[in-house]
Symmetry: C2
Amino acid sequence: MSILVVGSVAFDRITTPFGTAERCLGGSATYFSVAASFFTKVNLVAVVGEDFTDQDAAIFKGRNINLDGLQRVKGARTFFWSGEYGFDLNVAKTRDTQLNVFADFKPKLDAAQAASDAVFLANIDPDLQMDVLRQCEKPRVVALDTMNYWIASKKESLTRAFQSVDVIVINEAEVRQYTLEANLVKGCRQILALGAKTLIIKRGEYGVLMITRDAVFAVPAYPLENVFDPTGAGDTFAGGLLGYLASCPEASDRELRRAIIFGSVLASFTVEKFSLDRLREITLADVQARYREFRKLTHFEDFTE
Amino acid sequence: MSILVVGSVAFDRITTPFGTAERCLGGSATYFSVAASFFTKVNLVAVVGEDFTDQDAAIFKGRNINLDGLQRVKGARTFFWSGEYGFDLNVAKTRDTQLNVFADFKPKLDAAQAASDAVFLANIDPDLQMDVLRQCEKPRVVALDTMNYWIASKKESLTRAFQSVDVIVINEAEVRQYTLEANLVKGCRQILALGAKTLIIKRGEYGVLMITRDAVFAVPAYPLENVFDPTGAGDTFAGGLLGYLASCPEASDRELRRAIIFGSVLASFTVEKFSLDRLREITLADVQARYREFRKLTHFEDFTE
């Protein structure tokens, strides 16, 4: 089993109340790949500049990640994002964005990438998402992420992308922005009516809601005493979710629920340190141990009559 | 088993995007009593004015609610609150508050009230909460609610109240306001260190978090397609929670978790119509059926290795 991810590999400058990390590794495809590689083989498709060193690429080494699709452009610089979090760690203020090599990113898949069993279209231009999808050969599961910028600027293209995937990973505010519906559940039903089978709503520190045609599943986030840097939590979540799902024979309701827990567990590790520093340290055994903690955290019994 | 509640019985004027309800029944002790009476006998202690009619009192009739402590003051008017909700139903804007009879509320418990097995001190002046508590004879469980106003204006008195109860029911913003700690879990630990055994944090549409010295339990709210009027959700939650708990031989971790689900279920009904209109209609069987829905909503299996 393998999963293709198309997205960004970036350098971030991050300021939180606990300090600043200069030029640390970031990008949606970076977090996604590392998280997904705990469960399945990952085909990473992204672009970096000449400033991206072998030391930077070390994060991918020794993991089940195929780097054939990590293009390095000479004489150009890697995508750069700078953000700041205040007392309330839920909201990042963007201080700077430099697209650099990412401005001309137009991925061409090779045969192995195109034959991936699952596909994750990270948060990029929806026209580019569709362009990638057209190059894929009947993947079993296709998922996408998006952001407020594309909802505001490319709604028609985004709607076509929504119509073409199985799983939409999106946050609460984006559901409301896209549908103009205050009630979240009603908004989700509107988006599902476009064609996707599964809508997975990220609610940050409040957890995750899954809505399908037949079921609703809700889970809180793992309550942490030390949230250090929320950057990458959403992409880590998607990586754990879809990596696990790609490793399953089918995306049943049972496996989707487990996949959401694995995604939530991985995201809960990401936020404990800057960048991918915490993801670097952990093993599958750590992930499984926290999965069991999640079971205890959410467990309650039926009532007795 | 019996539970004493001391709080407000009020008339509300409520405006939501779906309409306005004039002079409808409200008040913390009203919602609490009706919710708790599904599980145990309730001793209601509150005060109303001459404008509170037998028709208004009908909500309590046919339920397991002792009204000996519902004092009616001649020539005076009932506590009145007017609030408005916008597109985002999570936040109420207070338009008017008229304390009326509530300004001189100084409850004296009779023998039956003082002997209640459990006590809920609804959101009133913390000095009054302590005054009531001193009149009680060794209740098995004592819980309190509070609000931002008392944290700002009577923090020392509130701290004494926190030190004197077993269960604190509080919302997220109040934990942060009281402790000045951004991280919710850390803030909760600070409050627990004052002496209470159990902290139950209300997170509105995001559910509930329970923190004790030995365990953490988190549960999402029941996702509703029709949230009509959130007024009273918190007091209904507390009523279901403590009414169920008062009916149990002990407040064990297992029963606390069930109690939180029953509270969440009852609150999910309250918000479906104005005032107590939905609570009037439902039976214990409806509550139990939604409890089972809650189990399906939150269920996930252990992973297979």
